[in-house]
């Protein structure tokens, strides 16, 4: 039975449609990654699951409860680590955790015991009694993670948990998440880092323009795509005409399934081919047309290819496109209660 079940979620902020009939099932015990560019609806989805936001329509079932009716019971079962770390700069980390423990009605003895455990596990002892205002991004994220874990939730929800973090903090958080998953905690995390989803998630969904457009395990999603990926350049920076000419040439080769001109990468050519043997044909075809190869690389399909296949654009292109469309002032207003 899924621990989270979302059906036909719709949510608009004024004229902006954040969710357009989103459906999602998160299995119990999974480490579930929600991949999508900034502005695709990930945070809105997580905020609805955490009962911070009500959808305009749709059903939200979390830990077997209707989150729209049994909000308090749902809150008790989940730990939420938000994207923008909301922290009281005047309090020390320990005081913040104590406050958090009291808001979850933990007994003082159990609360203090859990705080000590988490200080040790997240290596926070050197700075836990300093005021939060002096913390670095990595420290803040760790204290926030500790807050989310204090009451030992059965479901942990993290919104972009490692964005902007140093490698050490990212690695500490990744290790902890894998450890928690092995102990049975269900984890739902959103990210626009492909490598994060690749490294952590055993199940994932790709979210784009407020809908889930692909769902499954990262391995299956990649395998389903099939074929190999080839990136070809005949010079460091080609022009559009040359790229189109070569594209036409390559399309005639048997075993080449698709050729895409990547304008953002100096008009390089991205090909989907049946297998490695097609590379030889490509080399021969180019040689016969008197074209030299500047760079040629081949790889198995990545999650970015999965994203490209599902949306027709790379994750980076989607990010760039959405950056111009987003109204950060409106989003920040919408995030305020």
């Amino acid at each position: 039975m899924p621990l989270i079940e979302l059906k036909e979620l719709e949510k608009s902020y004024g004229a902006v449609k954040a969710l357009r009939g989103l459906n999602l099932n998160v299995p119990k015990g999974s480490l579930f990654g929600l991949l999508g560019p900034n502005g695709s609806g990930k945070t809105t989805t997580l905020r609805i699951i955490c009962t911070l936001l009500a959808p305009d329509s749709g059903q939200v079932q979390v830990v077997g409860l209707n989150a729209l009716k049994k909000a308090r019971e749902v809150r008790r079962a989940i730990g939420y680590v938000a994207q923008d770390v909301a922290i009281d700069k005047i309090l020390t980390g320990r005081e913040l955790l104590k406050l958090q423990g009291d808001l979850y009605h933990l007994s003082p003895v159990y609360r203090d015991q859990r705080i000590e455990e988490l200080i040790s596990r997240l290596v926070m002892s050197d700075w836990i009694d300093r005021r939060c205002g002096s913390y670095s991004g990595g420290m803040r994220r760790r204290i926030d993670l500790a807050s989310g874990l204090l009451h030992q939730p059965q479901l942990l929800i993290l919104d972009e948990p490692t964005v902007g973090l140093d490698i050490e903090s990212r690695s500490t958080i990744w290790q902890l998440l894998l450890e928690l998953k092995n102990k049975g905690t269900t984890i739902l995390l959103s990210s626009h880092y492909l490598e994060e989803i690749e490294a952590l998630a055993d199940q994932m969904a790709i979210i784009d323009e407020g809908r889930v457009i692909a769902e499954g395990s990262p391995k299956n999603l990649k395998e389903k795509l099939g074929g190999d990926r080839v990136t070809l350049r005949v010079r460091e920076f080609s022009d559009e005409n040359e790229a189109k000419k070569i594209s036409k040439l390559l399309e005639t080769i048997e075993g080449v399934r698709q050729v895409v001109i990547n304008q953002l990468q100096g008009f390089s050519l991205n090909l989907v081919v049946d297998d490695e043997s097609v590379l030889k044909c490509i080399r021969e075809k180019l040689a016969s047309a008197d074209l030299k190869i500047f760079a040629l690389s081949q790889s198995r399909p990545s999650l970015d290819d999965v994203y490209l296949q599902a949306t027709g654009r790379t994750l980076m292109d989607a990010e760039l496109e959405l950056v111009g469309q987003r109204d950060m002032k409106l989003e920040s207003k919408n995030a305020m209660r």
Binding site: I90, D102, L103
Partner: protein, 284 residues
Amino acid sequence: MTISTSAVSSLASEKSSFSDLMQETFALTRRLFLQLARRPSTLVAGILQPLIWLVLFGALFSNAPEGLLPGGMSYGRFLGAGVIVFTAFSGALNAGLPVMFDREFGFLNRLLVAPLCSRNSIVFASVIYITTISLLQSLAIMGTASLLGYGWPGPAGLILVCFTLLLLVFAVTALSLGLAFALPGHIELIAVIFVANLPLLFASTALAPLSFMPSWLAWLAAINPLTFAIEPIRAAYAGPLDLDIVLIHAPYGDVRGFDCLIVLTLLTIGLFLLIGPLLNRKLA
């Protein structure tokens, strides 16, 4: 007599809900006091400002002509009640600021994602904090006024002063919390506080009696809630406590001490009822 199991478990659950409410309210209040202890400047400024009013205004009008003030009291003594009320009023008007900052910085979301027994605990914590601070500041001003020779109310008078201030602080705190949830940001809230603060002081009997004012201002002052708090406190300083006597000779009729307290009570209840739906919507 036998008690059913469901009655026992319902009693236990009520008890647990109450202790949960106490735990979360105490934790939220503690946070506000920790902030204050580490950043006491607002507390100090909240005492210094009225103190400056008391000393400078008291000196400015110390040679006011005899007979200007009711009962021939000195201007310093007259001003004392006004400044005490102004202190409590200003403090309570700022009650919404911490909540507004929590909204803006997203800390409120941290509270709202927790399984709070009642989200009213966020409001309770603010009320407890602001009431304590406002009363402390007012007592500091009363102490200073006493040292300056402006008198000290008797025990019954002190109770009346505290009771009146409590009513005013509750009412203004409710208003400020309502604004903190209704306005878009702290700039707007500070603007409202800035605009409301001094005009309400000037359009009250804090600095001058009604009889000294032009009739339009006397009307304004006679419906200003600050006047309904100032006059009972002034009466508490004046001598034996009698709330049945007329304290305000308003253009619309005489107002007794009891009337003042009833008006303040109704205002407090009315404001909490008014902001209730807003808080429920924002904290739902």
